[in-house]
């Protein structure tokens, strides 16, 4: 039986929710974000706006756009409902911020006409939530995702196995997952602009150019997933950052936030079975001046305290002005599988720390991240709203 994956993507998610909450925003250019665009409505995209763009640039391009900070706990409520509906469609649903992959294996008899069934799923989501979604269906996650990308907004596209290669051929190389700006630049210098052209490069050639990423690109440009659907890739880096609700010079609050962001990173590293060697910290002052610095550890680690200690050391070096902070972010890079990167498990202190952290992770996995507050993150209690996912930050933090 052929593998069949359905990729579901909520159209202009944050902006769409804001337009539902306030119908006077319907049909208008709406931006959700602080500092940069987290999401913008399709009306805003007509002015050349896109997610990740700075708000200053967005204001220049579209002075009449309505800009909203965002209410991320509200958005989670909407996605929870959408994912609930998806789980009535397929038992295997892998969810992300505003999109999900549904593995339709075993549902062939339930959905003999998959397009009709997918249309019913879209209608169900719209009736229940008011949100429009785009659906892509294909033999792999890559194909399903590219299919939904090609059908946006409020569309649906099925790519049959025989259509995969011609379907992917005309996409620009930077549209292929895993091909970022730098990789695309290298390919364009080789006069490779389209995915179809990328297929002419041999496997060993791509590996020589890009290492393991090259092997992944070789498979992806042929519509093949580079991993089993449920297995997580090792990212190049993991970031957690946020803008403070109010600019602050309160050291306890700043270190509390740093502790919390570190915990989120440590949790993600342990979920991936990885450890990281380099810690990067960036801050932005209230006058928008920024500072950043990095530190590499002797050994890669997934222990929150070790990452936090390095981060506080960097903070002490770079936070030197008597100006309130508006934004703080921590990134870890040089990420390795834990077996390769970690010190020997026979050191008692580290073993104990890992046992404690894994116990905390299990409790959080079952009862929500907020079930336990650790260390200086306790400084945020009472000052920041919490839900089961953790503190409700002003800006969502994303894994890069």
């Amino acid at each position: 039986m052929e593998r069949r994956i359905l990729h579901l993507d909520i159209d202009a998610f944050f902006a769409s929710v804001e337009q539902l909450r306030n119908p006077r925003l319907a049909g208008k250019p709406v931006i959700v974000g602080s500092g940069c665009i987290a999401s913008c409505s399709y009306e805003a995209r007509k002015f050349g706006l896109y997610a990740g763009q700075s708000l200053s640039e967005a204001r220049r391009l579209c002075p009449k756009a309505v800009i909203l900070e965002g209410n991320y706990f509200v958005y989670r409520c909407f996605t929870n409902r959408v994912w609930e509906i998806c789980r009535t469609f397929s038992p295997s649903v892998d969810t992300y911020l505003d999109d999900a992959y549904l593995d339709l294996k075993g549902t062939e008899n339930l959905y003999p006409d998959i397009l009709k069934s997918a249309a019913q799923l879209k209608d169900h989501i719209r009736r229940e939530t008011g949100l429009s979604v785009t659906v892509g269906i294909g033999q792999s996650r890559i194909v399903a995702r590219m299919a939904s990308k090609s059908a946006k907004p409020d569309g649906m596209r099925l790519v049959e196995p025989a259509e995969v290669l011609p379907f992917l051929a005309n996409f620009e190389v930077d549209k292929l997952p895993g091909v970022g700006h730098k990789t695309a630049e290298v390919l364009k210098r080789l006069n490779i602009h389209a995915v179809g052209e990328l297929r002419n490069l041999p496997r060993h050639g791509l590996e020589a150019l890009f290492g393991k990423l090259g092997l992944a690109i070789y498979d992806r440009c042929r519509g093949l997933d580079t991993m089993i659907t449920s297995k997580k890739e090792i990212p190049h880096s993991i970031s957690r950052e946020t803008t403070f609700h109010k600019e602050t010079t309160n050291r306890a609050e700043i270190e509390g936030m740093l502790c919390y962001l570190t915990e989120r990173i440590g949790y993600t590293l342990r979920q991936l079975g990885c450890a990281a060697k380099t810690i990067h910290l960036k801050i932005r002052y209230g006058d928008f001046e920024g500072e950043k610095a990095s530190e590499s550890l002797l050994e890669a680690t997934d222990i929150d305290n070790e990452i936090h200690r390095a981060a506080v050391g960097i903070l002490n070096r770079i936070y030197t002005r008597r100006v309130a902070l508006r934004h703080i972010g921590i990134t870890v890079s040089h990420i390795l599988p834990s077996e390769k990167g970690r010190r020997s498990l026979f050191e008692t202190g580290e073993e104990r720390a890992h046992r404690l952290l894994h116990a905390i992770d299990k409790i959080r996995g079952r009862f929500g991240f907020s079930a336990i507050t650790v260390g200086k993150a306790i400084n945020l209690l009472g000052n920041l709203k919490q839900d089961s996912y953790g503190y409700v930050l002003r800006t969502p933090s994303l894994t890069k």
């Binding site: 539902l20 909450r21 306030n22 119908p23 006077r24 925003l25 208008k28 250019p29 009306e43 579209c62 009449k64 309505v66 706990f73 509200v74 989670r76 409520c77 909407f78 409902r81 939530t129 008011g130 839900d387 089961s388």
Partner: protein
């Protein structure tokens, strides 16, 4: 040409009295009373649900007389609150 949309959001977070209809498996607020004034709901724009521990909180965005209000019902204490209002300037 895009019309300018000037709006102001006020956070209220006050307990209010609400009259609601129950039918077709749904609860729909039809009017609420705040500071002696009754506001009739012209339309429910959208609704969503959240959890606070074991309790479910239902949120409603409603239009009343040209302004948009957000109401919430916490099932833990069955108390309605007016959370915020979006006023057009």
């Amino acid at each position: 040409m895009v019309a300018v949309c000037k709006m102001r959001t006020e956070v209220i977070e006050e307990v209010v009295k609400v009259r609601a209809d129950f039918g077709s498996g749904e609860m729909t607020p039809v009017a609420f009373k705040r500071k002696g004034r009754i506001y009739c709901v012209d339309k429910v724009n959208t609704r969503w649900a959240d959890r606070e521990g074991q309790s479910v909180v239902y949120y409603f965005s409603v239009d009343c007389g040209g302004d948009t209000y957000e109401l919430s019902l916490r099932t833990q204490d069955m108390v309605w609150r007016l959370e915020r209002v979006v006023l057009e300037e």
